[in-house]
Every structure is written in structure tokens, then in C-alpha cells.
């Protein structure tokens, strides 16, 4: 048994190494692939690489990692494989903040109004969710509060759309909501990096508490996990990571849901190991999807968020079929 335990740990390390290697390959591809590589002078190529492809690659890593990790953390805390960052209202809040900025025309006047408004929206939504969910009260109150906030945000986004006097603003809102990494600069990277890195760092600390929670809240408390603190850590970490990610890239669905789901059997279903694996897995998925977007539609008419949803759905259907087969007598 002792040997088996060590093997178990070795298999986990091998998985992380393989994912890291895949990520490195995808990074290289992401830097090399794109329109206009042939016949350009050296300097122009370098400019494309550093000003266009590098920020795009870095953002894909940051955003994918944030979405994958926060999805794994939320699923672990809520002990529900269907949880994803959207469920506690944070992506909704970030989206609403950005939409308000577009609606009011702030994006035309103030540079970076969009990501800044998105982050503020995430912050407001987080405070409201925590306030509504109350001091004590378990995962259920958090879901209820989150769903309430997410619904209000969705309703207000629709309102902003229908009130939009300027059709260009409406189009901008819709396109922004679809999620994309196109036309982002190193300024966006600089804006998102601190919040995403801090948020991810906070979420990674949840590992032992999430492991303990596999046995229910009472037993987790008896094993020394502080449930109240865990909830704050979870919500604040998700708000920072996903709030900043949504603020610079719009809403990118399915990543936070599908990545932990696919990786769970590979880490022996351990919530703490799933955190690290999903961080890498999310980055892999978003980076691969962004490369695919550029290859399939160099003109930019295919949005990243649309592609992740299109890719995510068959994967999800496959999971449903697999689960059904396992449950069948």
C-alpha cells in the first residue's frame, strides 16, 4: 500500500509535467501562428510578435488558468460538479460593469474604461454576494445569493442593450460579451496580471480545506478546516481572478465547468490536486481555442467565447453519455 501511495503521487507529477510540456508547445505555436508572417521585414515581424501575439498568448494563459482554477475551487467547495465561476455572480458582475461603461460611452472617452469598469463590477457583485449570503450559512446560501446576483446582472445587461440609443454601442456590447483576446495589448496584460496572479495564489491555498470538505462540512470542521474563512478565500480569490479575466476578455464560458470535470478522474478526484491541474488545463484549453480561432477565421469573425462553447458542448454530451453508462445497472 505504501508503494502504491508513492506511485499515486508520481502519476500526479507526471500528469502535471505532461500538461506543462503541452502548454509550452502551445505557447510556441501561439507566438508563431497568425496572419502576415511571410515576406515581412525582420522589424515588422518582431513588432507583430511582441505587440500582438505575445500579449494575446499571455492573456490566454492568465484567463484560462483563472477560469480553470476557479471552476475547480468552486466545484470543490460546493461539492457540485456543475458549479462554475458564473454561478456565484462574479462573471455577471464584471460583464455588467463593462456593459455600463460601453453604454455610457465611457469607452470612447477614457482609455481602459472597459477593463476597469469590469473589475469594479466584479467587486460590487462580490460584496453583494457576501453580504447576501451572510456570516454563517453553508454553500447553499452562497449559491442562492450568487444566482440572484447573476440574474440581476443578466437582466441589467439586457436592459442596457435595449436602451442603447446608438446601434454601434449595442453591437459593441454584444461582441464584447462574446469574449475575445483579439486586439489586446501589453497594457491589458499589465492590468489583469496582478489581480489574476493574486486571486490564483489565494485559491491554491484552499486545497486542504477542499479535501476535508469531501467528507461534509461537519467532518471538515472537525479536521481543522475553517469553513467561514474558506468561503471568504473562495469568493475573494474568484472575484480577483475571474473578475480581472472577464474584465479584459469578456465572458468565456464552459472553461471553468469543463476543465475540472475532464481532469477529475486523472487526479483521483482529489480536490486539492484538481486545483493545480485545472489551472494548467484551463490555460491549455483557452490557448488552444485561441490558436484555433486564428487559424479557422483569420479575419476575426469567430469569437473565442463562441468557440469554447461550441467545443464544450460535444465534450459535455460525451460526459453525459459516459456518466449514464456508468450509472446503468
Amino acid at each position: 500500500m505504501t508503494r502504491q501511495r508513492q506511485d499515486d503521487g508520481a502519476a500526479y507529477l507526471r500528469l502535471l509535467l505532461a500538461m506543462g510540456a503541452l502548454l509550452a508547445v502551445l505557447c510556441a505555436l501561439s507566438l508563431l501562428i497568425g496572419a502576415g508572417s511571410i515576406g515581412l521585414p525582420q522589424r515588422a515581424l518582431w513588432l507583430i510578435l511582441s505587440e500582438i501575439r505575445l500579449p494575446r498568448t499571455l492573456l490566454a494563459l492568465l484567463i484560462g488558468g483563472a477560469l480553470g482554477l476557479s471552476g475547480a475551487a468552486l466545484q470543490g467547495y460546493l461539492r457540485n460538479p456543475l458549479a462554475e465561476p458564473g454561478i456565484i455572480g462574479i462573471s455577471g458582475g464584471a460583464g455588467l460593469g463593462a456593459v455600463i461603461a460601453i453604454h455610457l460611452g465611457l469607452t470612447q472617452v477614457v482609455p481602459l474604461a472597459l477593463p476597469l469598469a469590469g473589475m469594479s463590477g466584479a467587486l460590487v457583485a462580490t460584496s453583494l454576494v457576501l453580504l447576501l449570503a451572510g456570516e454563517r450559512g453553508g454553500p447553499l446560501t452562497l449559491i442562492l445569493a450568487g444566482v440572484a446576483i447573476a440574474n440581476v446582472a443578466a437582466a441589467l445587461i439586457s436592459l442596457a442593450l435595449s436602451l442603447s440609443a446608438n446601434p454601434f454601442a449595442a453591437v459593441e456590447i454584444v461582441f464584447w460579451l462574446l469574449g475575445s483576446l483579439a486586439d489586446r495589448s501589453m497594457v491589458h496584460v499589465g492590468l489583469a496580471t496582478p489581480a489574476v496572479v493574486l486571486g490564483c495564489g489565494i485559491l491554491l491555498r484552499l486545497g486542504p480545506s477542499l479535501d476535508a470538505l469531501s467528507l461534509g462540512e461537519d467532518v471538515a470542521e472537525s479536521l481543522g478546516a475553517d469553513m467561514r474563512r474558506s468561503r471568504y478565500v473562495l469568493v475573494v480569490g474568484t472575484a480577483l481572478a475571474v473578475g480581472a479575466a472577464t474584465a479584459v476578455a469578456g465572458t468565456i464560458g464552459f472553461v471553468g465547468l469543463i476543465v475540472p470535470h475532464v481532469l477529475r478522474p486523472l487526479v483521483g478526484a482529489r480536490p486539492s490536486r484538481l486545483l493545480v491541474a485545472s489551472l494548467l488545463g484551463g490555460a491549455i484549453l483557452v490557448l488552444a481555442a485561441d490558436i484555433a480561432v486564428r487559424l479557422l477565421a483569420p479575419g476575426g469573425e469567430l469569437r473565442l467565447g463562441v468557440l469554447t462553447a461550441i467545443l464544450g458542448t460535444p465534450l459535455f454530451v460525451w460526459l453525459v453519455v459516459k456518466t449514464r453508462r456508468e450509472l446503468a445497472p
Binding site: Q4, S214, V219, L223, P271
Partner: protein
């Protein structure tokens, strides 16, 4: 290490679940908490485990108030086994047992491995180590969760109906194990429904009814027909068979 509740009351919502209850869990002894459904047995166990702070009264762990012993430090002293046997993810058995080592984070890996192996052997689940918990039978799962609590190597074990749903063989094995743990010097507190098992294996009994202690003391003194009749509303046969005490419900009185 002694765990003592002094006149604790617990109010949950608008209901007084416990009313000035005194209990002591002592090293080397098994204390059984008996009483009808809704008497407050689970709440008492959870309070003693530090999971439900009493509205009034105090619980002392050794010489210090239980409220002062936080998180992992409490986890190294008190192991708690819940009544619901839920494991939320499809974890391997040895991974579940290893969760009992969480309060000991930072201790040497060999020490963890030794404790896990010992706990799995004691609970007779070593052969299940690589199985997935979702594929176990109810009795196997109960023993795996017991192994998790044993891996904690705490001086005190609090278990909420650990024998519920076990077949007679495994129930007897479980109580035999609890007896050995007590003989090793651990203090054990359990909520029990099976009065024959309580009569046979518990050293002391606390009888709860409506959140109050109706009787307490050595098992033989507490398990009397008149006490049980009053508390359960059932007429009992209390006797011995082959020198084993038995308590058999005969007929409802109400």
C-alpha cells in the same frame, strides 16, 4: 485527556435542543448516549466535538475551554465520526483514510503512512485500499470512514451512531474495536440506538430525553426497565443470555 460538558444548553433556531446537560468523556471508557429520536444525541456529540457552540454552559478539553482549542489543534485531540456516511467525490479508499492526517499537516511522511496503515488494519479495510469509495458496500464504507477517524490518532473519539446499518458481524467487530481502543486509553463517546450493544459494550451511559439528561452512570445501573419505559414509552425485557446483557423492546405503552 478528559472532555467534560458542564451544564450546556444549545438552541438551534427556536428550539432548545439541549438543556443544561452534564457529560464526561474519560480516557479508557466508552460513554454511550442513548435516547429516543430527536432527544438531542447528535447535537450533544457535535457540541462535544466543538462543532456546535453551546448557548450557555461550558465544555472543557483537559484544563482549557474547548472554544480556545482551535482548528487543527482540536483535530489532533478529538476525532469526529458523522452519522451520514457521505463522500462527495469518487476518491480512493486510502485517499479518504489519509484525510484523517489533515490536522497533522507538517509531520513526517513516514509518520503519516504508519498512522494510515495502522488505522486501515484496525478497521479491517487494508484490502480495500485501492478501491473507489463509491463502489463500496454500506458496511465497507462505514469501516473506511472509521479508519479515517482512527488515522487522526486523537485521544478522544466521538461517533454518531457508528453501528447504524451494519450487519451483526460488523457491528460486533466495530464494538470490539472500540473496546480495544478504550483499553488503549482513548476516551470514546458514541450515540447508540441498539440498547443491547449499549448494555454490553458501554461502560457508562447517558440517557437523553427532550434535550435533558434523565439518567447517567454505569451502564448496569442506568439500563433499568422503569427508566427505559419512561424515556422510550416502550416496555422492555432487561436480562442476560449466556452472561451477555440483553435489552429487548416488548410493546409500546402509549
Amino acid at each position: 485527556m478528559k472532555l467534560a460538558a458542564h451544564g450546556i444548553s444549545v438552541r438551534l433556531g427556536h428550539r432548545d435542543v439541549l438543556r443544561s446537560v452534564d457529560t464526561v468523556i474519560v480516557p479508557g471508557r466508552i460513554t454511550g448516549i442513548i435516547g429516543p429520536n430527536g432527544a438531542g444525541k447528535s447535537t450533544l456529540i457535535r457540541s462535544l466535538a466543538g462543532l456546535v457552540p453551546p448557548t450557555s454552559g461550558a465544555i472543557d478539553l483537559g484544563d482549557s475551554p474547548l472554544t480556545r482549542v482551535a482548528g487543527a489543534a482540536r483535530g489532533r485531540q478529538i476525532a469526529y465520526l458523522a452519522q451520514e456516511r457521505t463522500v462527495h467525490w469518487a476518491l480512493a479508499v486510502d485517499a479518504v483514510v489519509a484525510l484523517g492526517r489533515l490536522p497533522h499537516r507538517g509531520c513526517a511522511p513516514e509518520e503519516d503512512r504508519r498512522a494510515i496503515t495502522a488505522a486501515m488494519t484496525a478497521a479491517d479495510v487494508a484490502h480495500l485500499a485501492q478501491r473507489t469509495v463509491t463502489h463500496l458496500s454500506g458496511g465497507e464504507l462505514a469501516r473506511v470512514l472509521l479508519a479515517r477517524a482512527l488515522a487522526q490518532e486523537a485521544a478522544l473519539l466521538l461517533a454518531d451512531e457508528p453501528s447504524a446499518g451494519l450487519d451483526p458481524e460488523h457491528a460486533l467487530a466495530l464494538f470490539g474495536l472500540l473496546q480495544r481502543l478504550a483499553a488503549d486509553g482513548r476516551g470514546i463517546g458514541i450515540a447508540v440506538h441498539d440498547l443491547t450493544m449499549a448494555a454490553r459494550f458501554c461502560h457508562d451511559l447517558v440517557v437523553l430525553c427532550g434535550g435533558q439528561v434523565v439518567a447517567s452512570g454505569p451502564a448496569a445501573d442506568v439500563l433499568r426497565g422503569d427508566v427505559l419505559e419512561k424515556v422510550f414509552g416502550v416496555r422492555f425485557h432487561v436480562g442476560t443470555l449466556d452472561e451477555v446483557p440483553i435489552v429487548v423492546p416488548l410493546a409500546t405503552l402509549r
